[in-house]
Each structure stands twice: as structure tokens, then as C-alpha cells.
Amino acid sequence: MRSSGSHATVAPRGEDARLTAAMRGQRDATESLLLELLPRVRNLVRYLVRGDSDVEDIAQESLIALVRGLPTYRGDGRFHGWVDRVVVRTTFAWLKRSRGREARYSGDPVELLAVPSDEAPADEYLHRRHLVALLDRLSTEQRHALVLHHVLELSVQEISTELGVPFETVRSRLRLGRTALRALASDGESPEGESS
């Protein structure tokens, strides 16, 4: 297993000063922190919602929630864990507010492009784009259970608490979601549209 975001160091010691300054509301420090967190925030949002069209809106709401919540961060847990939790809750709240919008989602064109990246090799980007295109075809419940468990590495108990659903329901969603995702992945879907 690769190193996880949750396992990643919170704020490396050298950056504690920046985090402290951001918690005190200093704009420069907060801006620098948000710029660093933005890819993580956007990626998590994309894991949780269907399609790309709402990602920026939800990411921006999440950033706002992070800024407003920073003074309440007590530093007693991993900073990225706290960030992820804020993003998850913001996303769920947004989905709740816009219930019905997902029904209109008809599938963004699967965009599998060999986009050069500073941060990751192109094939990793392609893999992730392909993966979320598969996730887009799962039910929202199964998707959220899978993402919280396998992407954010939450325990079943934590997911049960976060989603407010029984423990066994979470396990069932995980089981069904995994089966469905594997079936989709093994459908022989070669990454269509992959560019040279």
C-alpha cells in the first residue's frame, strides 16, 4: 500500500509556524496553506461526487469551511485528517442541498488524456480518471462507503458514525460496492479516448 494522505505528516514541523499563523487569521499564511491543500481537496471532492461539473464549487465551499474552521482546529489529530473530515462534511452538505441534481447527471465525457503533470506520472492520472469514471456508475451509497473506507481509510465504525447508518449497513455497502467496482473494472473497459 502506498503511503496514505492520512498517514502523511500533518504539518511538518517546519510548517507549524504557517499553520499557527493561518489559525490566527493571517491571510498570507492561510493563502499558502490553501494553495497546498487545494489538490487534495479537489481530488477528495471528485472521489465523492459524480462528474466534474460541481467539483470547483464544492472545493471552494470546502476551502471556505476550512478557513472558518481553522481557529477551532485543536492540533490533536493529523491535520490532513481534519481537513479531509471538513471536506467530506461540506461535500455531503452540498449534496444534500442539491438533492435531485445528481439525477440530472448524464455522464461527463470520459476524458482520458495523457496530460503531463508535475505531480504525478500521466498513467497515474489516467488511472484515477478511469477509476472515478467507474465510481460514477456506482450508487451514491456504495460509492461513499468505498471512498471513505479505501481512500480516506476510515474504519467501518467511523463510517457508520459519519454517515449515521448502522454498522452492518456500511459493511454491506462496502461488500456490494467492491463487487460492483471489480465487475466494472474487469468489463474489459480499455481507457477509451486515451490519447497518444
Binding site: S6, D84, E158, S195
Partner: protein
């Protein structure tokens, strides 16, 4: 959020498909540094300027201010009507050296309205950074700079207003060309005005063919057509773009999109 215990959730690994979140690229679409910065700035502005307060403050100006403004504008309108309607007066007797008044062409010339007493600000009552003031006499280049600053703060409409001023001021200048492309991008990405964006991009291409922003303008034409759902026009625009700018950073995505649009 603590890492899950081993074997939790029936233990079946899915690491070949779903991996723990990291700071790498994807699955969200890539975002340019400029747009990332704009997004962060807008979030900061929103978070810091609209800090939640238990009793929500009204964001409308106070009633007295609205009434005052209404009075000013009503008065100005009345003055204008009066000026049009009043009969020609005999020239007044000059008691001091006369200031020559330009000849007016009956009712064809608009009557200048008296300026409102002082400007008032409705949004952003407590700006955290020096507010950007727009001088009437600003040069197009200055206006462009101010528009870009507004844009980086997420003040899309204000920025758009300045871009339009630049275009109106010197329609054939380089600054207007840049403003057209910037306005097209703003309309497409933030103002939900794909038709207006298309017009701006097309004007930019038409007025300065092969200009320094030609790749962006031509690609913008294709994107605007896409937003409007006109796939045939989008494909044509992408074809033209790829012919003229085969080595653009946008060309890979454009080729892929063109393949999507092409019948199998």
C-alpha cells in the same frame, strides 16, 4: 480520521483500484496555477469578509441611503426632462465674462446627468486588502491591470466591466485584444455566458488574426461552441485550432476531443 484497522470492512483489499488519498494528480481534473490561485483568493475573500454572525447582517444598504440614491437619480432624471421640455430662453444678460457653451443639436445630444453626491459601496463593507479604485482617466493598460486584480479576487463581474471599458475605449488596440480574450474566458468560465464568450473570442480572432493570444482565442471559440452544445461548430473550430497551432499545450486535449466528436 484514523487509519482503519487491518481486516476491517471484511478486509478485502482494493488497492489495485482505490488507493488512499494523497496529494498527487487526479482524479480531479487538472487546474492551472492561475485558476487555482483565483479559486483560493475567492474562497479567502468569501471566508474572511462574510464571517458568519449569529444574526445575519443585511447586505442591502440602509433605507436612508437607498432613498437618498433614489432621490438623486430621480432629481437627475427630472432635470434632464426639464431641460428637454423647457422653451428656449433668451440669452441671459452677462454680468461676468461668458463661458462659451458648445452648440447643442436640439434633442439629439444626451444631457449629462449630474453626478451622484458620493459613491457608496454595497458589497464588501470591510475589504481586507486595499480596494481597487477605478479611475475614470485610467489608461487601457491600467484598466487591464485593475481588471486582472479584480479577477484574481474572484470579482468576475467587476472585472468584466473593466474589460468592456478597455474594449470600448480603444477597440483596435492591443489592450482591447487582450481584454476580448480575457472577457471571453471570464464569461465562459464564471459568468455562464457562453454566447457572449463566443462573440468575444470570435472578435479577437477576426480583429487580430494570428495575434499573440490566437491559440487561446481559437480554443476558446471551440469551448464556447461546446458549452452551447453546437458540436459541429466545435469540431470545425477545433480543426482550425489544430491546423494553426499543432504544438499548443492545448492541442493534445483538442485532438482527443475532436476524436470524440468524429463519427467512428
Amino acid at each position: 480520521m484514523s487509519p482503519r484497522p487491518p481486516g476491517d470492512g471484511d478486509g478485502e483489499p482494493l488497492d489495485d483500484l482505490l488507493r488512499p488519498l494523497d496529494n498527487g494528480s487526479g482524479p480531479a481534473r487538472r487546474l492551472s496555477r492561475q485558476r487555482s490561485s483565483a479559486l483560493v483568493q475567492a474562497a479567502l475573500d468569501a471566508a474572511l469578509q462574510q464571517a458568519p454572525e449569529p444574526p445575519r447582517r443585511r447586505r442591502r444598504p440602509p433605507v436612508w441611503l437607498m432613498a437618498g440614491a433614489a432621490l438623486v437619480f430621480t432629481g437627475a432624471a427630472a432635470a434632464a426632462v426639464w431641460r428637454y421640455a423647457r422653451p428656449e430662453q433668451p440669452p441671459p444678460q452677462m454680468l461676468k465674462p461668458a463661458v462659451p457653451e458648445p452648440t447643442r443639436m436640439a434633442t439629439l445630444e444626451p444631457v449629462p446627468l449630474p453626478p451622484p453626491p458620493e459613491p457608496f459601496v454595497i458589497e464588501h463593507p470591510r475589504p481586507l486588502r486595499p480596494s481597487i479604485t477605478v479611475k475614470e482617466s485610467s489608461k487601457p493598460e491600467d484598466l487591464l491591470r485593475q481588471a486582472n486584480a479584480l479577477r484574481s479576487e474572484g470579482k468576475w463581474r467587476d472585472a468584466e466591466g473593466l474589460y468592456l471599458r478597455v474594449i470600448r475605449a480603444e477597440p483596435s488596440s492591443l489592450a482591447a485584444y487582450v481584454a476580448r480574450v480575457a472577457s471571453g474566458s471570464l464569461r465562459l468560465e464564471h459568468l455562464g455566458d457562453a454566447r457572449g464568450a463566443l462573440r468575444q473570442y470570435q472578435d479577437a480572432v477576426r480583429l487580430q488574426p494570428g495575434g499573440m493570444l490566437d491559440p487561446e482565442a481559437r480554443h476558446g471559440v471551440a469551448e464556447a461552441h461546446r458549452a452551447l452544445g453546437d458540436t459541429a461548430a466545435e469540431a470545425r473550430a477545433l480543426g482550425e485550432f489544430l491546423t494553426l497551432h499543432p504544438d499548443s499545450p492545448l492541442s493534445a486535449a483538442s485532438r482527443a476531443r475532436l476524436r470524440e466528436l468524429s463519427p467512428p
